[in-house]
């Protein structure tokens, strides 16, 4: 039986891992290699590196650190941020990343998803979606969320976008529920469950993890394939080995033989 995956997300800026509070005031957390190894040893199932400088600045991802990570760790990892063309994706994948994740550039030009799937196969193509409920009760996507000054609300409904990107070749979807992001009160079960019903590819929950119970809840109630989190892992508040023991005790299939 397929395990539920736990995925720490590391924000990368200028070759270092940083932590921001609501996308501002970044604090240096350490070197990329050091944290990648730490999480690998703790039993993380996969890592996401989000290059927070690349996308809003229109810069390409620096692939030197991608290659260093690929040489070092023996678990899969995905690179997000700043990937807006097949060429850039190719450089990142050739450097050793297993997957690339696209978000704002796919909203600018949805054909990018088709192009990436045709060039590398759907298994390499992750679409990240930032979503927030509007006053009329509809979930809609947000663009350029990496920079609060540039963030835009779009008329596109989240559920429609989930349908569209699957049709275009997304092999996995990461749904970042912005309403619960950073507040540590649990994942947005209602929204994730609604997206799950429309999503036949793997679905990754993001935004809101604050305690180990939140992980059990999102796997059980929203049936997501993986749960992504940043601050609870970085702070050590929810250590991955203890979290996996807890989830296994709850009858949730996890990998414990790192």
């Amino acid at each position: 039986m397929l395990s539920r995956r736990l995925i720490p997300c590391l924000d990368v800026r200028d070759g270092r891992v940083v932590k921001g509070v609501r996308f501002r005031d970044h604090v240096d957390m350490g070197s990329i290699e050091e944290l990648a190894l730490r999480y690998r040893d703790e039993g993380a199932d996969e890592l996401v590196f989000y290059d927070i400088t690349a996308s809003p600045d229109g810069r390409d991802v620096d692939v030197a650190w991608v290659e260093r990570v690929a040489r070092l760790i023996d678990i899969p990892f995905c690179v997000a941020g700043g990937i807006r063309s097949v060429d850039t994706a190719r450089r990142v994948l050739h450097a050793g990343a297993d997957k690339v994740s696209v978000n704002s550039p796919a909203l600018e030009r949805p054909e990018l998803v088709d192009e990436l799937a045709a060039a590398f196969g759907v298994q390499c193509v992750v679409v990240g979606i930032d979503s927030l409920r509007d006053e009329d009760g509809e979930w809609r996507v947000r663009q350029y969320t990496g920079n609060p000054d540039k963030t835009r609300s779009l008329p596109r409904r989240t559920l429609d976008w989930v349908d569209e990107v699957q049709g275009r070749g997304a092999g996995e979807i990461v749904l970042n529920c912005m309403g619960s992001d950073g507040v540590r009160t649990g994942y947005d079960i209602e929204q994730l469950a609604a997206v799950r019903r429309r999503c036949s590819v793997p679905l990754v929950a993001s935004g809101g993890a604050g305690a180990r119970e939140h992980f059990a809840e999102v796997f059980r109630r929203a049936d997501v394939d993986a749960a992504l989190a940043a601050s609870v892992f970085h702070s050590g508040q929810v250590p991955i080995p203890q979290l996996k023991d807890f989830l296994a005790g709850e009858g949730i299939e996890v990998r414990r033989d790192a």
Binding site: I75, P76, F120, D257
Partner: protein
């Protein structure tokens, strides 16, 4: 002479297998050169992408007959394993026919998402030197949409809705559907068993 070589079949993150071997202290060149491949003690056929382009690249490089005639141990990884079988439904392509069975699209179902992506358990299908030191039920990392439902050459299986072949071996030809280079200690042990 290189002890271990990787056939450069062009896939996107083909370097990862090379890095995994480097972590084991083995520097394996990535090559399309027939002489280098023929002279190696161990040959690995990595592969990411789809079966039809992988076969086309082998054909363009003039390596189809060479791979079929190798006597030294050969290990195919992911799509590299799939093209060792007889036929793939992905692109309806004739494959190398070194392992018995056919590659088909994995069936989706309630709670069974395709691609099959993530860590799943290897179930041993008998005594096998390649699986030495790897526990029955150990997790390996998979990412694929096609697979072989059944083969007389299966040495390990896995389940995602339906059972499928996670490792196969016939004589000196072996394959792993998962990614040993991304399967933590379990994957490292498989590579070690293959190259030693």
């Amino acid at each position: 002479m290189s002890r271990v070589v990787l056939i450069d079949s062009g896939g996107s993150n083909i370097g990862s297998v090379r890095y995994a071997l480097q972590r084991l202290g083995v520097d394996a060149p990535l090559t399309r050169d027939a002489e280098t491949i023929r002279a190696a003690e161990r040959v690995i056929l990595p592969g990411v992408g789809a079966a039809a382009p992988a076969m086309a690249r082998l054909r363009e490089a003039g390596l189809v007959d060479l791979v079929r005639s190798l006597r030294q141990p050969l290990l195919g990884v992911c799509v590299g394993m799939q093209i060792l079988f007889e036929h793939s439904e992905e692109g309806d392509v004739e494959c190398l026919g070194l392992l018995r069975g056919a590659v088909r699209k994995l069936p989706a179902g309630p709670g069974v998402r395709i691609p099959h992506m993530g860590w799943n358990r290897l179930r041993h299908a008998g005594d096998e030197p390649l699986l030495e030191g790897i526990r029955d039920g150990a997790h390996a990392y998979f990412v694929h949409s096609y697979g072989v439902a059944d083969s007389p050459d299966a040495i390990a299986t896995c389940g995602h809705g339906q059972p499928f072949v996670s490792m196969a071996r016939r004589g000196s030809v072996a394959g792993a559907q998962f990614h040993p280079e991304r399967s933590a200690s379990v994957g490292a042990r498989l590579l070690e068993n293959f190259i030693r």
